[in-house]
């Protein structure tokens, strides 16, 4: 149970970064930490005691396999996380060019 609780604490650290920081790069780092904690939680759910990786080898006896379904879910989610972070960095480049700062409290002019 303690590993699930520590995973939740990592999620809260990422949430603290998204809610309270002023710099856009720190907000993106907080979002990355939240995503990584979720990947860890999914991998923890699928673990079986004294299980091996789910690959069939020739002349194998009767072994216990780890659950393959959470691994399939996380495999897709990692690449999607990279695409989202890259898009946020493109927006950050555009904002720096126009306002010359990364501070979100100075980015407040509505006109174009």
């Amino acid at each position: 149970m303690i590993t699930y609780l520590l995973c939740f604490v990592l999620f809260l650290v990422g949430l603290f970064g998204v809610l309270t920081k002023r710099n856009i790069i720190k907000i993106v780092i907080g979002l990355m930490i939240m995503e990584l904690s979720l990947f860890l939680f999914f991998a923890l759910i699928g673990y079986v005691d004294s299980g091996v990786a789910p690959i069939i080898v020739k002349n194998m006896g009767k072994v216990k396999f780890v659950d393959p379904l959470p691994q399939a879910i996380v495999l897709t989610a990692i690449v999607i996380g990279l695409a989202t972070n890259a898009m946020l960095m493109a927006i950050a480049i555009r904002l720096y060019k126009k306002y010359n700062t990364f501070d979100i409290r100075k980015i407040n002019s509505l006109k174009g």
Partner: protein, 142 residues
């Protein structure tokens, strides 16, 4: 970059590319698959651009080439999925080629072909993202 970095890159880039192709094509026998192999191939191209610089490699000022390769990858994926409608049973997106013996290289129906298509697409997409954000952003930040 210093000459040591350039020389080591020259020796190692081909081996990384070959390792990525091995991970993609043996995706149904060993750990790996399309996504892992595509990311490793993109890593080898990124290493080449970072070590030598973009003006030595004579990169053009637009990302046309890698965008075309990415579109080709996803087009092959869709063509295989629609092939299930016409060739095999009448259901979209099933596994319709013959499944051989478990453990051979040529087995598991359409799964190796899907692995190759996804590998090409992921490698070209990651390389396009890198070129647009790192090399060509000077056109925006002028």
């Amino acid at each position: 970059m210093t000459p040591i970095v350039k020389k080591v890159t020259q020796l190692v880039v081909g081996l990384i590319f070959l390792y990525g192709i091995y991970i993609i094509t043996h995706g149904h026998l060993t750990p790996g698959g399309g996504f892992a192999g595509g990311a490793v191939i993109a890593g080898s191209f990124i290493l080449l651009v970072l070590a030598y610089g973009s003006d030595v490699l004579k990169l053009r000022k637009r990302e046309e080439g890698s965008s075309v390769v990415e579109s080709t990858g996803i087009f092959i994926f869709l063509a295989l999925a629609f092939g299930a409608l016409f060739i095999g049973t009448g259901i979209f997106f099933t596994n319709y080629l013959p499944k051989g013996v478990i453990g051979e290289l040529v087995s598991a129906g359409t799964i190796p072909l899907y692995n190759i298509a996804v590998g090409i697409e992921v490698a070209a997409a990651l390389f396009t993202i890198f070129l647009a954000l790192v090399i060509y952003k000077e056109e925006v930040l002028k």
